[in-house]
Symmetry: C2
Subunit: 368 residues, 2 copies
Amino acid sequence: MKLSFQKSSLLNGINIVLKAVPAKTTMSILECILIDATGDDIKLTANDMELGIETTVEGSILERGRIAIEAKLFSEIIRRLPDSEVIVEVDDNLRVSITCEKADFKIAGKSAEEFSYLPTIEKEKYISVSQFTLKEIIRQTLFSIAPGDVNKLMTGELFEVHENELKVTSLDGHRISIRKVSLRDSYADQKVVVPGKTLSEISKILSGDSDKDVLIFFGRNHILFEFDQTLVVSRLIEGEYFRVDQMLSNDYETKMTINKKDFLDSIERSVLLVRENDKKPIILNLQDQILEMTLTSMMGTMKEEILVNKQGKDIMIAFNPKFLIDALRVIDDENVDIYMVNSKAPCFIRDEEGSYIYLILPVNFNRS
Amino acid sequence: MKLSFQKSSLLNGINIVLKAVPAKTTMSILECILIDATGDDIKLTANDMELGIETTVEGSILERGRIAIEAKLFSEIIRRLPDSEVIVEVDDNLRVSITCEKADFKIAGKSAEEFSYLPTIEKEKYISVSQFTLKEIIRQTLFSIAPGDVNKLMTGELFEVHENELKVTSLDGHRISIRKVSLRDSYADQKVVVPGKTLSEISKILSGDSDKDVLIFFGRNHILFEFDQTLVVSRLIEGEYFRVDQMLSNDYETKMTINKKDFLDSIERSVLLVRENDKKPIILNLQDQILEMTLTSMMGTMKEEILVNKQGKDIMIAFNPKFLIDALRVIDDENVDIYMVNSKAPCFIRDEEGSYIYLILPVNFNRS
């Protein structure tokens, strides 16, 4: 095999597939990037068996072939080369030579035979969504999965398609995040649970361009994202997702409308008094049009007031401040509406159109 | 005590003295910043007993007094406050109240009695140097101290003043770095060893402005740096520094002039093949006007060539690539001259004027 690339194209391709190279593994072939130039294109692939990424890189095929190369070393070498033409050549002993101007690296490759190619997904059921929308919806929900949970369903997000609506749900036992977006077309119903890790990696690769689309294909056990010159394939999480609808309600006793930035700034200040695993609640005391927030810990006390718009009853309720922060950070509205029933029932942060719902359970607190 | 500040002034002062707050200590008073407003100015001080920093902060004294406050918490609270007026008030129980707009923090202070003020240094012997020059000379030499060495002298740098010249030397057993700068005036001779940690912290505080000066005062056991509104006092390291002059020599068999950037880029690429504690040398083979560099490790082989200007004999010599990288990174010249005798003797990277000398010992290598 002998290939020629511009350094920047090759590096860009490597950076994309690198997201599917596991940090630690006992199977050394998984730490490799496969370069496949057996056809008319040059394809780079990495695959950790849960998540696989394939991308096509511009370059010239001087001699066809394929090789697996240790991903980290390969990426570091390419990154450090001068911004010029790079030649990657493999001899019969799988010895890889990387040359660029006067620099010449020789490293050991691995047989492509060992490498697991991506599974093939039937391209029947799909939706189309802009890169911007997909990236945003992931950012706005991913924080409330439970990454290490024994219940695998909590480590992923529910993707639901109904007609022209995509709805994404995540939950971790203390809170639920739901985002809905409208699609340009109507599609067949879908309901799959996508691993959080896949979504986290894919959102790093997405350009976030609103003019470019992502095609999402739904297979039986896999999901495939296709965009730019790249394919991302991931296993789905099996099982019946939680019945979230039963936990939602539109009833409330108190509706508070508050400036989002002021509210977020105050809560972020309050957590300065909380050290790591010390779970101190922030107590919200809403009386008339004034929200008083207090947090007391070993380190001291913080008290702040914000003028709000209140409808309904006064209320005193406490939350884990981190949960409020997580939700408020991903809401772009200037003001948010918060709906509460009593100090034991969940609060809902949601907009009129129902494009987002953040449910957060309150915590017990000492009223003194 | 009751003081009023603009948030930005207070935060700026805190960030300066924070450099002298130790990360870990068993004496909790050392983790504090002292606010002293017993006189006409508001002074912040931190002191870890080796290094002490005092800075004057703009603000209004509404009621005189002093208090010690846990540095980390104090700095985080101030950082998060709105950009507005901050009031710091202490009651008779050493309870500190920090208020800013609608935010009100209450935290515990500590008695200023416990706090160790900075030692007083006689201001007889001194030099004046620009902030830019001091910051640069530290950057250009500090990398070759031996921070954890049992020989305390190796953990510091020798500062020598002779007439109108300041010379700074550091060494770690494998290399020596020397930088000289001219001062605007002539001063009495000085010779002190300053702890590396002091120099590292001070260079973070120095603005690097070439229009602003630093006064350096030499005490018996301490050195004092005075600049802007800030005093930095450090203990000196006791003992007789190494006789570096004996190790320097102007004799050479080979002089190589090489483009610094090309040389540095090549060596930086070569170390991609070296993992952590794997000490692989880079072999320089200089023949005629071509420098060939090779590095071979478990991971592979790298070979590069650079056209150079050579005077004298051909030579083959090997170095720890890190040592070449460290020296080349702090030299701003486009081309560097490297003087060598043979493969067992140190090489010297130095300029004509003698403003810098970097001595590096070679390592053994396999000629095959």
